[in-house]
Symmetry: C2
């Protein structure tokens, strides 16, 4: 089968051996897989990532010096189910022919395999890969699989908003309108949060943020997002906003600690891979909280698929392009530039170069 | 009147003009003033501090290049009250001859003056200084004024514990057993928190931590406090502890982010004056929260004085020495070494060199 393989910090299209299901696995054919910012981060900074993962006791970290397999935002079609010997423990909630999504973990003994960050297991950048059938969720009939492919990044947004505990009456500030920032705006809009004030250097992404419901979106080179919030909030600026950091580059935390008002909670959803410098004294005198967040739980993942299918949250603005395997490396380069695309889906029969597409 | 003045990063004993009360002020004679870790920090790093204060919009920051006046943990005797022209707005809750404490602010138009960090107003390192009478709390009859002098640092501990929301059933980890770490242990003990696991390099301070109720106190050079917590907590280690950082030196936040378990909240009470480097990725993958805390509110300050007076919280272990004005510089040097003393009280008639004392 064909796959886009990460090799020496590059993406190479290669022919790989077909995966062999174990009992309880679903063999899946890729329909579409979103390219995530953390795929870009990983291809560039995998060594940082595996160092930290090993240090924190995570098992099944991968070796970035060897080939590895990216892609954790997939939707696929079940080709085969390798029945578990224990159908009570592992009932198969899906059938051959179903379109499915799942949390990006493959159940193995003794530890889960993080799909999309593995040397050994293919994931969403391969024509075929293995999922744990019991973790699969059927894509509701009638839902465009390209929308279903947004379940994973939208679940990250939902988890971040859930952790923040934000409720009507409190303002939200969203720093950065990449896929995660836009996902946050979509959920904050669905929750009725007002005002939502966002910042983003890319004009294209600012327009998408507005389309998703942000009330004010500024170019941070012209006005800081905190100044914009003060301007928009009026007397509401007496109460600090919840700030959502969705950029993840060095210096961003310190800049926010410098500019946010006292008592601000900063939800850190951006994934900064490098060491970063802050001034703790800023945090102390303003009693700032930095609350780092990660991923989602299985309930949030399922709730996200349901909300997308029901139209409770609007994801159409998130997908801006499609590409086949041969154009994946180009798609990464395009996404690094940030101004042309937000989310590009890799599709097995996609075009040879990144091509604009709307849902 | 005599005063210990901060001048060019040194403490100089000098004769200064007597303070002139304005309406609403209480003129107070110093009885005792604790030396705070932030006094040491300020004398060494005042430039950092005033930079940050100015950047965050605080008014009435001081000029560290000119003489300034330290000391915010005082107890004093009211010598005179300059009646306010508006007794309804500012009733005097104290009378001449009363022993008083107060939050370290002097009410002035247009902004509060932070006493203990001012070029213009004397504070607890001077024989006489001004307080806002309406902010003064009378020391209950019979309470040793040296215990009352602990109201301010103990209020910092109470505020930090309040912000953490810790309740019985959750373990506490206290990093550093200086005055703030010990204050935290005293309050956590009063709240029935168990286990309280602390770390501190100084043998003297470890013994005080145990005396104040810590269940396990380790030397971090022998065992990390997180390892000690795991060892002590047993199955309780399934739930993350609340970690209280009371050291405030560069590198401590990163070390904690590296060692604490997932979902840990770190209450940052230590005041690190320098820029500091963290690895945000550690925070992300473990969903750590860094919650910076500062000072206390007036209710917490009053509740602290009451709790000390009622014996609800045990502060006797906190004071280890006394010194007169002439020995203040020596006392700073002794406290920097950390192994001999925890809290030294400056007393106008104190000895010429830091002298051990127990409450």
């Amino acid at each position: 089968v064909r796959a886009v393989v990460a090799r020496n910090h590059q993406l190479i299209v290669d022919e790989v051996l077909p995966p062999t299901p174990s009992p309880g696995d679903a063999l899946v054919a890729l329909r579409a897989c979103g390219i995530c910012g953390s795929d870009l981060h990983t291809l560039r900074h995998a060594e940082h990532m595996t160092d930290v993962a090993a240090a924190t006791g995570l098992e099944n970290t991968f070796d970035p010096a060897a080939d590895y397999h990216l892609g954790h935002e997939w939707v696929g079609e079940v080709l085969d189910l390798a029945e578990s010997p224990d159908p009570v423990v592992v009932p198969a909630p899906v059938a051959v022919g179903d379109l499915v999504v799942s949390v990006p973990y493959l159940v193995r003994d003794p530890a889960f395999v993080p799909l999309g960050f593995s040397n050994d297991y293919y994931a969403g950048y391969a024509e075929q890969f293995l999922l744990t059938a019991a973790l699969c969720l059927r894509v509701p009939n009638g839902l465009d699989p390209r929308r279903a492919a947004l379940t994973e990044p939208m679940a990250v947004g939902l988890h971040t908003v859930n952790r923040s505990g934000i409720a009507a009456g409190t303002a939200a500030v969203v720093v950065g309108c990449g896929p995660i920032g836009l996902a946050l705006i979509a959920w904050l809009t669905a929750r009725g949060i007002e005002p939502i004030v966002a910042s983003e250097p890319s004009e294209r992404r600012r327009a998408l943020a507005t389309a998703l419901g942000a009330h004010e979106v500024v170019d941070p080179r012209s006005e800081s997002v905190v100044d914009a919030w003060r301007r928009v909030a009026g007397l509401g600026a007496m109460q600090p906003p919840v700030v959502f950091e969705a950029v993840g580059i060095p210096g961003m935390l310190d800049e926010l600690m410098f500019t946010v008002p006292s008592q601000t909670r900063v939800m850190v959803a951006g994934v900064c891979m490098q060491p970063d410098t802050i001034r703790p004294l800023l945090g102390v005198v303003k009693e700032i909280s930095l609350e780092f967040v990660f991923a989602y739980d299985t309930d949030e993942f399922a709730a996200t698929l349901r909300a997308i299918a029901e139209g409770d949250v609007d994801v159409s603005a998130l997908v801006t392009g499609t590409v086949g395997f041969d154009g994946a490396a180009d798609a990464f380069a395009t996404l690094e530039r940030a101004d042309e695309h937000v989310k590009i889906l890799i599709e097995p029969d996609g075009p040879a170069a990144p091509t604009p597409m709307e849902l």
